[in-house]
Amino acid sequence: MTSDSADVALRVKALESLLVEKKLVDPKALDAVVELYETKIGPHNGAKVIAKAWTDPDYKKRLLENGTAAIAELGFSGVQGEDMLVVENTPDVHNMVVCTLCSCYPWPTLGLPPVWFKAAPYRSRAVIDPRGVLEEFGVTVPAEKEVRVWDSNAELRYLVLPERPPGTEDMSEEELAALVTRDSMIGTGLAKAA
C-alpha cells in the first residue's frame, strides 16, 4: 500500500467510525451490502437475460419493447436498474455503451462497473473513436457495419443484446448463458464462440 492509499484508507475509517459513533450507520448493514455486490449481483444475472432472449422469441420481443419489465420478470430489478433500454446487435449494427459524465451502469444485470468503464480514457474516447476503442478490446467491426454508441445517464441504463454465436442451435439456456460475457453486454466484446 502506498502512503497515499494508506491515507485514503484512514480517511474512510475516520468517516465510517464517526458515523457509527453517531449511530447514523450500522457497520453490519454495510457488510451486507458488500457481500451482496461481491457475490449475488453481477454479470451472471445479465447473462441469464441474454440467454433467455436468444432462446425465447416472445421474451426477446418483450425485452426490446420494455427492457425494465422483461428484466424484472427474471428478478433483476432495483438500484441503478430502474429504467432499462436493451439494444440489439445484428449483422448490420454493433452497439456499445459508455457513460461520458461518470459511471452510470445497470447494476442489477451487470453488477458494479469495471475500473476502465469509470476512467477517463474509455469515457473520453468511446464517443469520438468507437472503432479504435473496440480494437483495444480486440473487437474489429467491419467498415460496412454501423457502430452505435449509447451514452448512459442517471435515469436510463443500457444493456447490449449481443449476437448469438453460430453453431449454438442445440445448446440449452444455461449453456448459452456461459457464453455471454460482461463485455459483450457493454458492447466492448462479443459473446464467446461455442
Binding site: 480517511r11 447514523l24 451490502v33 461520458t100 461518470c102 475500473v115 469520438i128 463485455d183
Partner: protein, 102 residues
Amino acid sequence: MNGVHDLGGTHGHGPINPEANEPVFHADWEKRVFALFFGTFAEGMLNVDQFRYAIERMAPAEYLRSSYYEHWLHTYELLLTEKGIITEAELAKKYAELKEAA
C-alpha cells in the same frame, strides 16, 4: 455544467488497459466507501443528485488525479459537513486518533 467530468470527446487520456479477471473491489476501503452510499442514502443524509453534483464540484486536477472511489469519499466528506451532519473538526479529530493508533 461543462466541468472536467464531461469527458466525452476530450483527447490525451491514454490507453484503456482493461484488467483481466478484475475483482469487484481493489481494496477493503473501497468496499466501505461503496457500502456507505447505501448507509447514507437509506438514512436520508444525501440523494443521488446531490451526490453527483458534489463529484462534479471537485477541483479539476484533483478529479483527474484521484480514483473513482476517492471521488465518492470526497463527496461524503463534502456533503455531510455541508449539511452539518458531521463537522470538519470531528472528522479531523477522528482521523488524528486513528493515525495515532495505527
